[in-house]
Amino acid sequence: MSSIAVPARSRRNTLATTLGFVRRHLLTAYSILFFAYLLLPIAVVILFSFNHPIGKFNYTWQGFTWDNWRYWDGVPGIRSSIVLSLQIALLASIVATALGTLIALALVRYGFRGRGTTNILIFLPLSTPEIVLGASLLTLFLNLNVVFGFWTILIAHIMFCISFAVVTVKARLVGFDRHLEEAAMDLGANEWTTFRKVTLPLSAPAILAALLLCFAISIDDFVVTYFNSGNKVTFPLFVWGAARIGAPPQVNVIGTAIFVIAITVMLANVLVQMRRAKRVS
């Protein structure tokens, strides 16, 4: 009996390993396809920043040129739209991160009445469609006769960035060693000194992450800005306007530049993490 059973089992094992092999590589092959799909439009954006379009439509490949990069601001309005986007993103990310960090500290450190409500208040803007965020702010400003422009855009951006800042900082503060703060207090530091000398430096990476996230979200926002911009034009609004009459290749140039800068920052971060993980192990 056993002389029959053994080869049968080993055959089943080879079958299982073959199936496992196929499955594993099927999954890998599928994942490669997935990433190709994910990166395809990015490749198109980069490629068409070098296109030399005939007529107004930058849809079909006509020939290679450096001109779009050399004359990146050769389209009226593009430079001022980028400047405005950068200003808004910088201010909005700083203010939103400051407000968000304070909320995150309160949520992580203290038990207090209204925690649940605060959590919901933070979560609601994240779960409200952008168009409703934009439309409701628009009705507020309309009804109060506020003049639309720089300030309305800035307020809108701070508003939708706060929740992202809270969630980002909170996620890192949760795993934070409270003993360090208690030690500082035991040694005679008051709460403010402890906060300044211990809490703040230790949560710096989280705060930086929140800043970067808010900056990225702000500079990319179209919908909420569209509702609250008046006649000011941020870069995404410029793209929207340009798209109606055929977006010039300079739009791809700026898109590529933003992508390259963002991906470099993130890549550097990931590489540092990987090296650190390697050193630890």
Binding site: F35, L99, A135, I155, A171, A216
Partner: protein
Amino acid sequence: MSYFHRHRELTPYLLLAPGVLFLAVFFVVPLGFLAYQSLESGNIDFGYAFTWSWSNYWHALRDYRAQFVRSLEYAGIATLLALLISYPVAYWIAFRGGRWKNLLLLFIVAPFFVTYLIRTLAWETILSDNGFVVNTLQSLHVLGPSGRLLATSTAVVTGITYNFLPFMALPLYVSLEQIDGRLIEAAEDLYASKLHAFLRVTLPLSLPGVVAGTLLTFIPAAGDFINAQLLGGPDNHMIGNVIQSKFLELTDYPAAAAMSFILMAAILVAVFVYARLVGTEQLTGTAV
């Protein structure tokens, strides 16, 4: 003794105050204004007056039923597609990513680093009438000689699926990554096949990620109008297109406000049901 020491119970409120006040004034109050405006009647020339005009809601539902249904339909299909497309990859990264995990996650969010409108315009290029996708489909006779992809529901759903895919893939990855590998090994020892082990252990344990990903994809997708505007035709307009044009072009504020409210109410109901099921802490936790 500092002020803080004597009033420790006040500290959290002081920390909360600026941010929460900001959100109250510029998020909660505006929703009130939106609700108020949605019950007004009149027009832009003679002004609007609050008249409890519930008819704005009935008219919105009556006249734009097609766009409401289409929004939910497109968002639903795109969410389902995003789930099916990204689950295997999230699984692959979580269990086979090894030390490359963070790099692969960076690839997943890479589309976010290209301005939303520009990546949608890239899809316009990819799907354009003389593009290689249309040409290939035509030579395979999937599309007729004059067939096109732009201005079809396929193009709009393609765009939505792509644009919100990272919102699905990331929470899926987070929940799969948290699964203890020993549980799956134990399951494989106990159940007959790997498929069973997957269906009975891995899949149920990844459900929080599925639910979070579904919400994070469905909510922005249902309110989107960019994909429908750039990739679709008038027949593909979603409720977002209507709200946008009523607010910014036709200045029919009460109708637009009513539609925004219907959209948000539908979505909020879904979120609160979910919050009741899993708790707000977990909901905000998986949202990253």
